[in-house]
Symmetry: C2
Subunit: 539 residues, 2 copies
Amino acid sequence: MPETELPVVGFHPYLWGDPAHHGGLSPAILAALSALGVTAPARPAAEPASVPLPPVALPDSARAALESLVGAEHVDSGHDARLAHTRGWSTPDLLRLRGGDAADAPDAVVFPGSHDEVVAVLRVCAEHRIAVVPYSGGTSVVGGLAPARAGFAGVVTLDLRRLDALVEVDPVSRTAVLQAGLRGPEAERLLREHGLTLGHFPQSYEGASIGGYAAARSAGQSSAGYGRFDEMVVGLVLATPRGTVELGTAPKSAAGPDLRQLVLGSEGVLGVITSVRVRVRPVPAERVFEGWRFPSFEAGADALRQLAQDGPLPTVLRLSDELETAINLADPAAAGFGDGPGGCLAITGYEGGAAEVAARRAAATEALLAAGGTALGPGPGESWREGRFRAPYLRDPILAAGGLVETLETATFWSGLHRLRAAVSEALTTELTGRGTPPVVLCHISHVYETGASLYFTVVCAQAADPLAQWAAAKTAANRAIRSCGAAITHHHGVGTDHRAAYAEEIGPLAVAALRAVKQALDPAGILNPGVLLPPPGG
Amino acid sequence: MPETELPVVGFHPYLWGDPAHHGGLSPAILAALSALGVTAPARPAAEPASVPLPPVALPDSARAALESLVGAEHVDSGHDARLAHTRGWSTPDLLRLRGGDAADAPDAVVFPGSHDEVVAVLRVCAEHRIAVVPYSGGTSVVGGLAPARAGFAGVVTLDLRRLDALVEVDPVSRTAVLQAGLRGPEAERLLREHGLTLGHFPQSYEGASIGGYAAARSAGQSSAGYGRFDEMVVGLVLATPRGTVELGTAPKSAAGPDLRQLVLGSEGVLGVITSVRVRVRPVPAERVFEGWRFPSFEAGADALRQLAQDGPLPTVLRLSDELETAINLADPAAAGFGDGPGGCLAITGYEGGAAEVAARRAAATEALLAAGGTALGPGPGESWREGRFRAPYLRDPILAAGGLVETLETATFWSGLHRLRAAVSEALTTELTGRGTPPVVLCHISHVYETGASLYFTVVCAQAADPLAQWAAAKTAANRAIRSCGAAITHHHGVGTDHRAAYAEEIGPLAVAALRAVKQALDPAGILNPGVLLPPPGG
């Protein structure tokens, strides 16, 4: 079996993001971990080369069919390829791999070269009853890459990295067609050659890709200005085992339900999004980021709500609670757990034409001052901007040091926001404290809408003897709190397998039946990401 | 059978809108019709009381079950109720009723009083295989109220007018829960008691209702500022024969596909929307409407595109082509076919807080001047605003005079807009001229987006001997042109039965199969609006 010619592992198989950005922990973080009861480092992580993989289960006939479709060099069952495509980047995913558990490794990684090859691969896999995991960035933090194997002859990961073209630019309509395998930075680089940008910068930007943005309904850090990814998509092409679905004849229409919104967020269970037509914008001429302090989270949230409802909206608008603020302001670069200057830090960012930015910033500044904000100038804003993809890099060294860190997020309407924040914080704190590992729970608002906002929680505590069970219990408690508040089980991480049960509860049995029916229509053999989003057959 | 206590006919059964606003035609219009070859008035319209209705086909057991659910006084098989609920307000609908054809009359009109009663009625109808036409405003112009009867024991119209409550106002989140049977003006009146507005003003505003806005994915004349109705809906409750679906835990989320967008635009075939949670806004303190002239449609479209892409967006933004402009400016009140002063008329409207409106208007004015526009002041703007619900009232007297008038609309991306306009105009002109009735075809842009816009066509010509066949041929030609340009078969009128075939072509057979699967899951007996949106069973 030839190893693929493509570089399979641009990233370490189980360290977050770009290996070049990994480093140690600051003395402040180490002291904080100690204060949380971390007494000894965790067991050293297994070396990638020595992690045992399950035997390859792919039937020879299926392999031969796949190789004839995409070329033998694009079907890879080598150790490195399989390990690199095992699960995603959640803390449980990392913990399992660090512990040497790669039971979810695919039997092979297939690298199709075109939309038509994707359709053909899906047909072959349906014939042979091979489960298929669509994969573009591989950055899921909700178990979106761990399919149910039961009842299948094998599992292949469909890695879309060869679908990496900027297919078309329409400068008049300001749209571009991007293929699914393009990672964020590469898509931006290609668009910038035309003076354009997507403006989509989720925290996973370095690793995540266009197909994942679409399939998981991503929201970037500049969503206030550029919108969510589902608002950027005006057209898409979906490969299914039964053929192709192509959607998007106009920005908006009354031609039936907006089926684009049925595919967006479908997490690979209805088909494989191979390209999207997205709204793009000119690369901004001007960019200003600033910090603001509010006396309390409630006061800051009121200010954000006012901007979201009455305008003008900055391009980036965020608010940290008191504890997260203390950490950020004490040492923004290292995010050390020091004592901050009190209050809550908000970040405002403005991007656009010079005159437009000046006008918008002036009006927003006036509103923020009137709402009780104190301007902190560009320092904290620029710090946030420079470090905005860095926080997840702290996770690996914290895990190694014996700490546990994970994030979760939700969204609700403004009138329920503070109740939701209190309920989730309390659930996490009670559960983890009860298990002997009292946590620190940080929270921020990172996405605002006229009618509501998201809440993003970061949880840090000492690792228990069984950190997987420890986090599962904490997560279950948080999910229960979210559900009891009637909030969304996820704002931008997605459903995957981790949120599947809560998601079914959120939309109810009839809506689950409707989704199952769509899946049955497009994927009658049920091979696409079984167990993700919806319970697996018989599950 | 008792007649319902509720006023069944707020409107004439087959004249558009409020009877109080009906009148004659100006001499200019009569002259224009004459120039189009109209030589004699049409046959007089049948008197409502003398229009024959098909025998009532409802089985006694079904009627008894329905009466026991909602009360005998809320099941009406009287002539007036049946005739008033026969079809909608399209020109073919009016032509048929004027000609005394009420073959599509329902067997009974049922007036449920609550969501639970709607669910119960649907269950009973599923058991008895009675087709159900959900009805709130009854203003469909695409045959959305003419179900396929074949295979059903009867047809009932489910009139939601008793679901007319403003259920809840959340001033912090700026949301309101409105029941489906509220007509536009009544919803606005209730919201205004709280200082709030939806800002949703489609041309059918006087008759259309909340449930129809949602089910048909309505777009109002102020969509640039307030958004489309599908953008206002943050939650909804759907009654289906299998029970209730309740959606909307947050403004936006990544919790799977956005199933709200699967229900919106589903035109009653997946269930009956009984209430929606909508984003609302404060009643605007300031309101300014103005006219602009552009030397050509292309120049005006470029100016609109610039505002849509680079901002600021007025609340209302429209552009008429040269011919529509000539008509509008010659006599805005009567819309007579006189000679105008040339060029293309654009309307800009601004609503909001005084300072915000002033700033937005100043920036938009600068952009429109730079784009070659000539400011015409508030005169044409106010004229448009005052007359904005009046144009459809001309249809009935034009039909009576022997003319034929109808509208159709589409949407596409900016780069294809002029090609689309030319193709549709040419298709209509060629088809109708070839049939001996050369038309006048007017066009305007009424809804703009960053990536594209809508086109709205008005067609006037002399009535042929068989005006239904005449219009069907013209419409088929227009649909073919729209499809050949890859545009949306409808921007805001909906699919109904009139666009069903073109819609299936637009989304393709796999997407149709997916929608059918959803319908099968929620409405296994297929009783909901059979033949609307999707082909009827076996069709």
